[in-house]
């Protein structure tokens, strides 16, 4: 695989990210227009709550105990939640790595940070502290779900930076959420996807699926040349090069580490399922092609 092909593979995810980012911006813009009494453009004008699957998560308790959705949550977010959970069960948190527009914004800002700080980028926080901080999102998830269940109010929107960013024109946005948004955007220049890593409650829930997802990220120890390119490219700082099957709760299924994009040895690191052990012959052949190609 040459560099051009490699770049094309990256473009698929980039195109999906841009599509969903543009979609959310358009929905937000349309919602604004409709509140001004203007006709929406191209698509409808639902609120951002209606197209966020996390709304479905926080209304679960209310739905199963009383058959109702909590404040501001509509059926669409409940349906979206099930679709995203299905997608996650199969492929892991694809939503985080491919769809979530807030993740995309952080990732784009991260590109600036990477240019500024080079190798230091995404490595500012000491590993021990970083490991601990990554459990905060589970605490937030539990708090948000419990508090929402007892109040039936969409409390999370009061400090949700995603809602603040795409609804910045609205008086529904609280000062606290604007402050959190500013902090996250600035932090994105130093750390890749800080909100996703440390605070996102939806990311926490979807991350759990990494333990039992059907399509797993597998590393072939026999062919791995231990170049650690996968570790370096991983936006979530996962130590991929030491695992046989990567089931880290922070994986976002971005596919950047795979031999389709970064790993220099074919059939060494990829997402797969129902796959028997690759034949030695196939492995050797793939290895030869890549290594002799000298692209990495």
């Amino acid at each position: 695989m040459n560099k051009k092909q490699n770049k094309n593979k990256r473009l698929i995810r980039l195109a999906v990210q841009i599509f969903f980012l543009a979609l959310i911006v358009l929905i937000s813009f349309n919602h604004f227009r409709s509140e001004q009494g203007l006709e929406p453009l191209l698509i409808g004008s639902p609120s951002l709550h209606a197209v966020c699957p996390f709304g479905g998560v926080v209304t679960l308790y209310s739905y199963f105990t009383e058959g109702t959705f909590i404040q501001k949550i509509s059926q669409s977010s409940f349906t979206l939640m099930w679709l995203i959970l299905g997608l996650t069960l199969l492929f892991g948190p694809v939503f985080c790595g491919w769809i979530c527009p807030f993740g995309t914004v952080q990732e784009f800002l991260g590109k600036i940070g990477r240019k500024i700080f080079k190798k230091r980028y995404n490595h500012f926080i000491p590993i021990k502290l970083d490991t601990l901080l990554r459990y905060i999102r589970y605490i937030i998830l539990i708090l948000v779900v419990v508090k929402t269940a007892t109040s039936a109010k969409l409390l999370f929107s009061n400090f949700d930076p995603y809602f603040a960013l795409f609804n910045i024109w609205s008086d529904e946005v609280t000062r606290l959420s604007l402050f959190i948004l500013a902090v996250v955007l600035i932090a994105s220049l130093f750390i890749e996807r800080p909100w996703c890593k440390y605070f996102c409650p939806l990311g926490a829930l979807l991350g759990i699926f990494n333990f039992f997802r059907i399509v797993k990220l597998k590393r072939n120890e026999k062919t791995c040349i231990n170049c650690k390119a996968c570790d370096r490219i991983c936006p979530m700082n996962i130590n991929i090069s030491t695992s046989k099957t990567v089931s880290n709760h922070q994986c976002i299924s971005c596919m950047l580490c795979t031999d389709e994009i970064t790993c220099p040895v074919n059939n060494t690191l990829n997402f797969s399922f129902l796959e028997k052990q690759n034949s030695q012959e196939k492995i050797k052949k793939g290895t030869k092609v890549h290594i002799s190609g000298g692209e990495k």
Binding site: K9, I12, R13, E66, Q75, L83, I84, L87, V94, M255
Partner: protein
């Protein structure tokens, strides 16, 4: 099987895109906000979260206040559809009342206060200090007020007036407040149902089309200038029996 970026793209299109299309087709993808109020405790919802866009059915669902009670207490038409009637629609039905130089509307906050009194769910209004007479009477008749509340609200009522005659309650005299019944009786003292009474005259006296249909089992004819007797004779319904039921309703 090896999974590539293209597979993920296809999975997103099929699962998310296809799922949304399918859900839309089967009515499981509605982006309209569900106007769910907040909770105080399990099953007890915040009265201040009642909004003008709430339907009577939603009020019943969240506040255990039967739609029929609102219809009766506020003197709405008995055929009011609880699924579609929104609280903000009240403004279109009742005239504003002038009390002590201030204009009072029967609107969402009136229902909030009524719901609070009916369900003993706390709510302090900073705009509703008077309630329609029929509403207070309904609460008293149904023992929903304690002595203090009774004392206050019986002294803070106003007579609800309809914007259009079409919205007149009157389908059941029981739904009118005591005073209103007296008024209807006074107004109808001169009225008598005879063989010359037209259907329109019956309707004008307060027999609603729904009550007409309920009693006679017949739909109100388009030509309401016909005499009731002729109409029932034609339909082979005993006019005398019907007449007595109408008289009973009108208190004649």
């Amino acid at each position: 099987m090896k999974i590539r970026s293209l597979h993920i793209l296809l999975a997103i299109i099929v699962i998310v895109g296809g799922g949304i299309l399918l859900a839309t087709e089967f009515g499981f993808y509605k982006t309209i906000k569900e106007k769910t109020p907040g909770k105080i405790t399990e099953g007890v919802y915040v009265i201040s979260d009642i909004r003008g866009s709430h339907t009577l059915e939603e009020i019943e669902r969240y506040y255990q206040l039967p739609a029929s009670s609102v219809i009766e207490a506020f003197g709405l038409k008995v055929d009011t559809n609880p699924d579609t009637f929104k609280l903000k629609d009240l403004k279109e039905i009742f005239k504003p009342a002038e009390i002590e130089g201030e204009e009072y509307m029967i609107e969402t906050d009136t229902v909030r206060v009524f719901t609070s009194l009916y369900s003993k769910n706390p709510y302090i209004s900073d705009e509703t200090f008077y309630l329609p007479e029929s509403t207070v009477n309904y609460l008293v008749e149904n023992n929903k007020l304690d002595e203090k509340e009774k004392e206050y609200w019986l002294g803070h009522t106003f007579k609800a007036e309809y914007l259009e005659g079409d919205n007149l309650v009157g389908s059941e005299t029981s739904i009118l407040s005591e005073n209103t019944v007296k008024e209807v009786v006074e107004e109808t003292e001169e009225f008598e149902i005879t063989g010359a009474t037209t259907i329109q005259e019956l309707l004008d006296q307060g027999i609603t089309e729904e009550k007409f249909e309920e009693i006679s089992g017949l739909k109100v004819p388009e030509d309401k200038t016909r005499t009731a007797k002729d109409f029932f004779d034609e339909k082979e319904v005993e006019f005398k029996d019907i007449k007595d039921k109408f008289r009973e309703i009108l208190g004649i």
